[in-house]
């Protein structure tokens, strides 16, 4: 046991014990613990095995940069792998497991990898497994995957909910440490709308672990007073447990707030995480600085810890790191830790300070060794001591804890998300970001400020500077200016002569020799070295390792870190759960569901539904005794052609078009003429794209001089609406025309079949006989003796005498019921889109199966529809290009098997009768096919070279996927009632 809880002190609430388990073993912590501090309090320093060599690893940091203490939290669908124990707020019932170990973290067989380490060095992926190629997939990769890697994801669904929201503020302050608090307070006092976001469960940052006084005031008191004042300001919101993970265009910041990640009793009515998009007029980045590890042998042995983290655990959670601690530092930070350890009555065995001129202000008991370095840490699963080199002499010091500090790197991640590059500063011995960018200012230690008072002053000053530009008078800064008394030492990138592995990137097991090897093999460029060694490529994105790696590369290349440069910072700052990114868009909320106003009518009539886009459409209506869908569809088709049928066509797009130029507008939108469409008439229209291909089709009716009613296909309803708006607003803004989508406002019902007129006449007050309401009639009608007004259209997709009746959506079900009732003596049946499809293929009517983006009007037999007299319409100019009028274009034909007992499938290709399958021999393909109960055979529509000239030609229909060859004959696409005699009843 190398760590334990002190009997007093810290910010934990000893009256609130919390029970949790680690690898199944019951443990106890207190409110105010993180999982990491609670593990340390239970003497659990060894918490995981490393990625590649399976080395024992302990808790290294107390924050977001933690590379080692990755654990799996939760069970079942709530399993979360690779969670940093340092950021997990302890709660009662928490279940944590160590990762990457077998059979246990204490005894791990994978540690044999350490013996293979000569083969696992930099570039080993590229070198070792180059040949034979097949070995990679079959042998090496499975072995590596089994041996390496971190946690395992669960296959069970996440039972929890997540949400997304927007919010706005004048000033977003990122980080609630000294600089952030000072900035928020200054801006809050001035009346600005402030959001103060911090990833911790308690705001305060480094103040939470600070024992020093600021002026006359203890840090803890200052923090308490500041938080109290912020809480009293209605214009300040504090978002705790909220990580700002990205800075995006328009000064929008992404943040994730943990709402219920700190409890085992999850309220299902609240989200567990909330993804925020914060639109800030300005932001202050006060994200602090990251302490750098020192690179010496065995610097990953459990018991070695960052000096600042050790101090944080000591002062926040009353954790003793061990009984005898060595401090290895080239920075003041090590002395602060030593001071607090001694104040807590703990022994500091030595302060090893790599700087030759060590500070004289040390007044503690521990001996200081200036100009000395720790060459190696000793121990296996726990630290036992260190070897120190001083003046060439080797000295062994017994110790069970080692605090290290290699100086501080400003956390500038977010400031570099929008293209700014970090710049090396010799004065600060660190990479710094531009101090001010449009919309963002960096403050405090993130800006390279060192001393605590200076950070407070800097935060206050930076907020004060930005307030006038936000329209607030610059109130007095919350903290007075202070000189930055912190000194900056020359960085110590690595210790020479180490015996053991000196790790640079703990999480990816990259050590000093790997980086030196990368340089010697020509991969010294920072981007190359990253990929060659995998330094900085783990889930921590090199938060601890990148700057050291750059320093080591610089030394090896004998240049300045400025010449090495950095790799690119990209969102996210820390890993984000898929749940937060998904938000509410999962399960039935993945996409909206659209249901026709006749959905319930169809369901009570037994419809089987099919999803088409967002819509649920009725496919067929099975009756008792029917065993296959074909039974139902065949019956529906035969009944419509013999008696009558009713079909829900409400999903077709419907657009009301108004304006005195509406007719002129439609004339330019469609390739056929619309200017002189009479009031009370419907017309089939073909809409082209500007490249001459058909875009969509449908009927448009003129209900009055300046009011048209357009229908579109179901799939293209939204696209056509956008297209009409573009043409009206961007191309021809001088035309007086307006649009309103009314798809959802109308229930539209097709009634088709020889008896359809008789049936509908029972509902419609006006005479709808052939003379009074001929084919393509369109008008408003009175229903049920004046009780209701609807729109009646004499149009037909089935080829039968047919009508479409539109009534306000809310009346749809009642009207459909009434039609069924009136039609019952006449044998009416409901029919679905499958029967509709069969009847339209029998009639050679096209849909988007044929209008597939590659066809011109002429290709589908509509050449004569295209106006030659209109001065302009969308698509006109391109229609005359050579390729558009080529004779061998694929054109519409019918196709049917020679032997009605045989069949073919949609998508099959057409070959000349004796031709072998090849690209050269391909004559076209089947676009639609079905079984026609009227013809007793499969029939199809196809796009075939010279199609219309080849009626009667025998061909082979070929499907390579199914290895099917069907002898067939090309024919007219109109299989049924070619003279259109049935259309008029």
């Amino acid at each position: 046991m190398s760590s334990f809880r002190l009997s007093k002190g810290g910010r934990i609430d000893r009256a609130k014990p919390l029970d949790f388990t680690f690898d199944g073993k019951p443990m106890q912590g207190f409110a105010g613990d993180t999982l990491a501090s609670a593990l340390l309090a239970n003497g659990r320093q060894l918490v995981g095995r490393s990625f590649k060599y399976h080395r024992p690893r302990g808790i290294l940091t107390a924050g977001a940069a933690e590379p080692n203490a990755l654990v799996t939290i939760g069970e079942g669908g709530r399993t979360e792998a690779n969670t940093r124990a340092t950021l997990v707020e302890l709660y009662s019932g928490l279940k944590a497991k160590s990762q990457n170990r077998w059979p246990s973290v204490d005894f791990d067989l994978g540690a044999v990898n350490s013996l293979l380490s000569p083969f696992l060095g930099a570039g080993f992926y590229y070198k070792t497994f180059m040949w034979p190629a097949a070995f990679w997939e079959k042998v090496y990769e499975p072995i590596i995957r089994k041996a390496a890697g971190l946690g395992r994801a669960t296959y069970e669904p996440d039972p929890d909910t997540y949400e997304k929201c927007w919010t706005h503020c004048d000033l977003l302050v990122i980080g609630a440490g000294p600089a952030g608090l000072a900035a928020a307070l200054t801006a809050g006092r001035a009346g600005a709308r402030v959001i103060l976001a911090d990833e911790g469960f308690e705001p305060g940052g480094s103040l939470l672990a600070e024992t020093a006084a600021i002026g006359e005031k203890a840090a803890a008191v200052l923090l308490e007073e500041t938080l109290a004042e912020l809480a009293s300001l209605a214009n300040v919101r504090i978002f705790s447990r909220t990580t700002v993970f990205g800075w995006y265009d328009g000064n929008v910041f992404g943040a994730v707030e943990s709402v219920q990640k700190n409890t085992a009793a999850i309220d299902p009515n609240r989200p567990v995480e909330r993804l925020w998009r914060l639109a800030a007029r300005h932001a202050i980045l006060a994200s602090g600085a990251e302490e750098r590890p020192l690179v010496f042998g065995g610097n990953d042995i459990p018991g070695v810890m960052m000096a600042g983290a050790m101090r944080s655990y000591l002062n926040r959670q009353a954790i003793a790191p061990g009984k005898r601690t060595v401090v290895f530092t080239n920075d003041e930070s090590g002395y602060r830790t030593a001071t607090d350890l001694e104040a807590a009555g703990l022994e500091v065995a030595a302060i090893v300070d790599s700087r030759v001129g060590a500070p004289s202000s040390w007044a503690g008991r521990a001996p200081v060794f200036p100009g000395a370095v720790v060459q190696d840490a000793k121990g296996g699963k726990a630290l036992t001591g260190v070897t120190m080199i001083k003046g060439g002499a080797l000295e062994t010091i017994k110790a069970d804890a080692l605090a290290m500090s290699g100086g501080w790197s400003p956390i500038i991640h977010l400031a570099c998300h929008r293209g700014a590059r970090p710049v090396w500063s010799d004065a600060k011995a660190a990479f710094v970001a531009p101090q001010t960018q449009d919309g963002l200012t960096i403050a405090g230690s993130a800006a390279g400020v060192g001393a605590l008072e200076a950070c407070l002053a800097d935060g206050a000053e930076k907020a004060g500077n930005v307030l006038p530009s936000l329209g607030f008078s610059s109130a007095a800064a919350a903290f007075t200016p202070a000189v930055d008394t912190a000194t900056v030492a020359k960085p110590l990138w690595c210790v020479r002569g180490a015996k053991g592995k000196a790790f640079v990137d703990y999480q990816n097991d990259v050590h000093l020799k790997d980086l030196r090897l990368a340089v010697s093999e020509g991969y010294g460029h920072v981007e190359l070295a990253k990929r060659y060694t995998t330094n900085g490529m783990a889930t921590d994105q090199g938060k601890l390792s990148n700057v050291n790696a750059i320093g080591i590369l610089a030394e090896a290349r004998k240049v300045s870190p400025a010449d090495v440069g950095t790799t690119t910072f990209r969102p996210f700052y820390t890993p984000l759960s898929f749940g937060a990114l998904t938000g509410a868009s999962k399960g039935k909320h993945f996409q909206p569901v659209r249901k026709s106003p006749l959905h319930d009518w169809a369901r009570k009539n037994g419809a089987v539904f099919v999803e088409t886009g967002l819509w649920y459409r009725s496919s067929w209506f099975p009756k008792a005794g029917e065993t296959t869908w074909r039974d139902s569809v065949d019956r529906e088709v035969l009944n419509v052609r013999k008696n009558a049928g009713i079909c829900d066509v409400s999903t077709l797009g419907k657009i009301e078009i108004f304006g005195k130029d509406a007719a002129e507008f439609l004339n330019r939108i469609y390739c056929n003429a619309f200017l002189k469409l009479p009031v009370g008439k419907a017309r089939y229209g073909l809409m082209l794209r500007e490249d001459g291909m058909i875009y969509d089709d449908g009927t448009t009716s003129r209900l009055s001089e300046n009011h048209f009613f357009m229908t579109t296909t179901t799939a293209y309803a939204a696209g056509v609406m956008n297209h009409l708006e573009f043409c009206a607003q961007a191309l021809w803004p001088d035309l007086d025309v307006q649009f309103a989508s009314s798809t959802d406002q109308w229930a539209q019902i097709a009634v088709a079949g020889p008896k359809s007129r008789t049936i509908l006449q029972a509902l419609v007050d006006e005479d709808i006989c052939e003379v009074a309401f001929p084919f393509l009639g369109a008008k408003e009608v009175s229903l049920f003796g004046g009780k209701l007004t609807g729109r009646l259209f004499r149009i037909s997709f089935s080829g039968e005498l047919a009508y479409e009746l539109a009534v306000p959506a809310g009346y749809g079900e009642a009207v459909a019921d009434a039609i069924m009732q009136a039609g019952s003596p006449h044998g009416i049946c409901p029919y679905g889109v499958e029967a509709l499809g069969v009847m339209r293929i029998e009639k050679g009517h096209v849909t988007h199966s044929e209008i597939n983006g590659t066809v011109t009007p002429a290709d589908l037999g509509f050449a004569k529809m295209v106006s030659t007299t209109k001065p302009d319409f969308i698509g006109k100019a391109m229609l005359s290009r050579d390729g558009m009028v080529a004779q061998d274009r694929l054109s519409l034909v019918g196709v049917k098997p020679l032997d009605p007992a045989t069949t073919f499938r949609t998508g099959s290709h057409i070959l000349s009768e004796a031709a072998t399958p090849s690209l050269e021999n391909d004559q076209g393909y089947v676009t639609s096919s079905c079984f026609s109960p009227n013809l007793g055979s499969t029939i199809g529509l196809a796009l075939v070279k010279h199609g219309p000239k080849r009626h009667g030609e025998q061909v082979t229909v070929w499907n390579d996927l199914k290895n099917e060859y069907t002898k067939a004959v090309l024919c007219s696409p109109v299989f049924f009632d070619p003279e259109n005699e049935k259309l008029h009843g």
Partner: protein, 90 residues
Amino acid sequence: MASLIACPHCGPRPKEEFTVKGDAAIARPAADAGEDAWYAYVYLRDNPRGRHKEYWHHTSGCRRWLVVERDTVTHVVYAVLDASAQGETA
């Protein structure tokens, strides 16, 4: 692209409400402008580095087509005009 687009009718709105169509600097030729002009209008597009005008539709808002002038490198939005007004200022 910018996270927010300042619609002249609706104010700054999230980009998810909008749909981009493409180059707004090209004008639809007259019907008789000839094959080359039409070929260029339908098929040829510049991919400029820097300032660029594009059509954006405020699909989930006011449903107006807008001309957004933005920088393809910095993503700065310089101006947003209603498409029907572009002729007056171009």
